[in-house]
């Protein structure tokens, strides 16, 4: 695995009153990747992010972020953060929100001006930067929130529910920004309950439930488990072929032939046989589990195990 941007283990948080928000979570996030942290409401996602950003004090936490122990304030100079339900003061303009974050990160005035102009364009807010946040839509505030998270040119960016309240067009924009950040070699940590969103951008995912990590790995590996291939023909599969495929262990139903397997090798003879028999092939496709399937089965299994 590539060098880790985050490597934590045994992260625990017990709130006063004995509520255990995190029960020994271990996560590894490679540098330059997009990492998706998933989980139902109350799973402990935001608590974990806040611990990494020193907003919440952990009961126990071992590990490093960008090569420094978790809790080290200096390392936050290289970290950007968009909080969930970000609430920036309405009396500020978009430009001033970005400037505030830059100031707290020690970015010089000159550099702040240069970066703000670039970021305003990047998040699609050109022409709005001098207006107060009170006049913005929720999606626009979210865009400004992303801009302020990037003003210190971070190596690691935490986006907590970045698509919250954003329209479909805005979501595509946010996805594009995340992909650009990965292209620049930055690590992006996305906290979201919108599985389809995460599925489209994340390289790795982890699923939290009831403060415990129940699944973690490369997106391709996790969704590739139980992979199969489907071949559809023009009209029902002829009787002789159907019997042969069934004897080889494939499922055949009408015009559909299902071939289980991690790789497409076993599908090739099926295609050859169909073409030799003069059957028209309408479609060949890989069937993977969606992130939603993965998420639901992991959460259900976890419930069953409890």
């Amino acid at each position: 695995m590539a060098e880790a941007a985050i490597r934590i283990e045994e992260v625990r948080k017990i709130y006063s009153g004995g509520i255990e928000a995190l029960a020994g979570v271990a996560i590894e996030v490679p540098r330059g990747s997009v990492f998706g942290l998933l989980g139902p409401n109350g799973a402990g996602k935001s608590t974990l992010v806040k611990i990494l950003l020193t907003i919440i004090r952990p009961t126990e936490c071992r590990g490093e972020m960008l090569g420094r122990p978790v809790g080290c304030k200096k390392v936050l100079r290289k970290v950007g953060y968009l909080p969930e339900h970000a609430r920036f003061p309405e009396y500020l303009t978009g430009e001033q929100v970005i400037g505030y974050s830059a100031g707290l990160c020690g970015v010089s005035n000159h550099e702040t001006r240069r970066r703000t102009a670039a970021l305003i364009g990047r998040v699609g807010m050109a022409g709005w930067e001098k207006r107060r946040l009170g006049t913005y839509s929720k999606g626009m505030r979210q865009r400004i929130g992303i801009a302020q998270a990037l003003v210190n040119e971070p190596e690691l960016v935490f986006l907590d529910e970045p698509s919250d309240g954003v329209d479909p067009e805005g979501r595509i924009e946010i996805r594009r920004i995340i992909e650009e950040l990965r292209g620049e070699g930055k690590t992006v940590f996305v906290n979201s309950h919108l599985l389809a969103e995460v599925e489209q951008v994340a390289d790795r995912v982890a699923i939290l439930a009831h403060g415990r990590l129940i699944e973690q790995g490369l997106m391709a590996d996790l969704t590739g488990v139980g992979r199969s291939y489907e071949v559809r023909t023009e009209g029902p599969v002829p009787g002789g072929l159907r019997d042969r495929f069934k004897s080889q262990g494939f499922k055949v139903q009408g015009d559909l032939i299902s071939v289980a397997g991690e790789n497409p090798g076993p599908v090739q003879p099926v295609i050859d046989d169909l073409r030799r028999a003069g059957v028209t092939i309408r479609e060949v496709r890989e069937i993977r589990r969606s992130l939603e399937d993965l998420f639901l089965s992991a959460v259900r299994n976890n419930k069953g195990a409890k």
């Binding site: 950003l53 304030k73 909080p83 339900h85 609430r87 009396y91 500020l92 400037g99 970015v107 302020q148």
Partner: protein, 320 residues
């Protein structure tokens, strides 16, 4: 320094955005202009730029008492009533929501996730809030400074003592607001707590004043003299832990320069009004100066430091 300036600028923007800031500033300016409207004529004093006239030989233009009287009006009515009570009260109400707003979910995270220590953020935020009253009184003192030059023909920079003195009074009470706000995030609870402390402090000072007067006056006549002195001592000890808002405001009487010498004590004014020499009322002045500036400010700042320390401790240890 960049962080300090950033938080300070943010505080300024916050103040500018608050309607109450402008209302208070406008009211302060109005009071300052009313003060400016007081003048001296060859026969006495005038008000509202000459609309009202009072004949008073002692206060005629150019008399030695004119300056003292003008400054006395400033310290007693303008500072003692307007700035010490109304302006501080409005400032408290106006600034009470600064910390609760800052601590709101979705807002605090941005600041705490930056490479700045929590204690630094807390202190800068506190100092930023103090700008409210500093700016208000600063503008006010400037108008008064110009008014004195216009009315009396002297540049009296000592009126600017009003700025730190009123800022001090505000800071004692604001520390209560901050502590309660950090603990509860409730604006109403913070204002209520500050009003309670303010009232208890004021009542305590008045009680101590009365006990002092009784103890002094009955020295030779009453048998229970020692007892009164003991009561007074106990009241001083009790008051030592509270902020001295009233006594801090009274410090202006000692700090403002009038007639070429520091201090426009109440005794001096009373004696002067009665026709005696300026500054010849030692027992009244002694009563006013029974506590040193170091004691008044020191014990009050100690109160403030304890509350702020507690608030900072909670702020630094809390999960958001």
């Amino acid at each position: 320094m960049r962080v300090f300036i950033t938080i300070l600028i943010d505080s300024l923007r916050l103040l500018r955005a608050r309607a109450l800031f402008w209302v208070t500033l406008a009211l302060s300016a109005l009071v300052a202009v009313l003060f400016l409207s007081i003048g001296f004529t060859p026969t006495g004093m005038s008000g509202l730029f000459g609309l009202l006239n009072w004949e008073q030989e002692m206060l005629r233009a150019g008399s030695p008492m004119a300056e003292a009287a003008y400054l006395w009006v400033f310290s007693t009515f303008v500072v003692g009533m307007w700035l010490s009570w109304v302006a501080v009260g409005l400032a408290l109400i106006s600034c009470a929501s600064i910390f609760p707003d800052f601590l709101a979910e979705g807002s605090i995270g941005v600041s705490l996730s930056k490479p700045v220590r929590r204690l630094t953020i807390f202190l800068y935020k506190y100092i930023g809030s103090m700008m409210f009253v500093t700016l208000q009184v600063g503008v006010f003192a400037l108008i008064v400074f110009l008014a004195i030059r216009w009315r009396l023909g002297v540049w009296n920079a000592s009126v600017f003592w009003a700025v730190p003195v009123v800022a001090l009074i505000f800071s004692y009470l604001y520390s209560v607001v901050v502590l309660v706000a950090v603990r509860t995030r409730s604006v109403l609870a913070a204002i209520f707590a500050a009003i309670v402390v303010w009232f208890v402090s004021w009542a305590g000072q008045k009680g101590e004043e009365v006990l002092y007067a009784v103890a002094q006056n009955e020295v030779a006549e009453v048998e229970g003299k020692t007892s009164w002195k003991q009561w007074h001592k106990m009241s001083v000890w009790a008051m030592a832990v509270l902020p001295k808002t009233g006594e801090t405001a009274d410090l202006l009487d000692r700090l403002i320069v009038a007639g070429g010498q520091r201090g426009i004590g109440q005794g001096a004014m009373i004696e002067s009004m009665a026709g005696d020499e300026f500054g010849e009322a030692p027992e009244i002045d002694a009563a006013y100066e029974r506590h040193t500036i170091g004691y008044i400010v020191g014990t009050s700042l100690a109160f403030e430091a304890v509350l702020l320390g507690l608030a900072a401790w909670i702020f630094c240890r809390k999960d958001y």
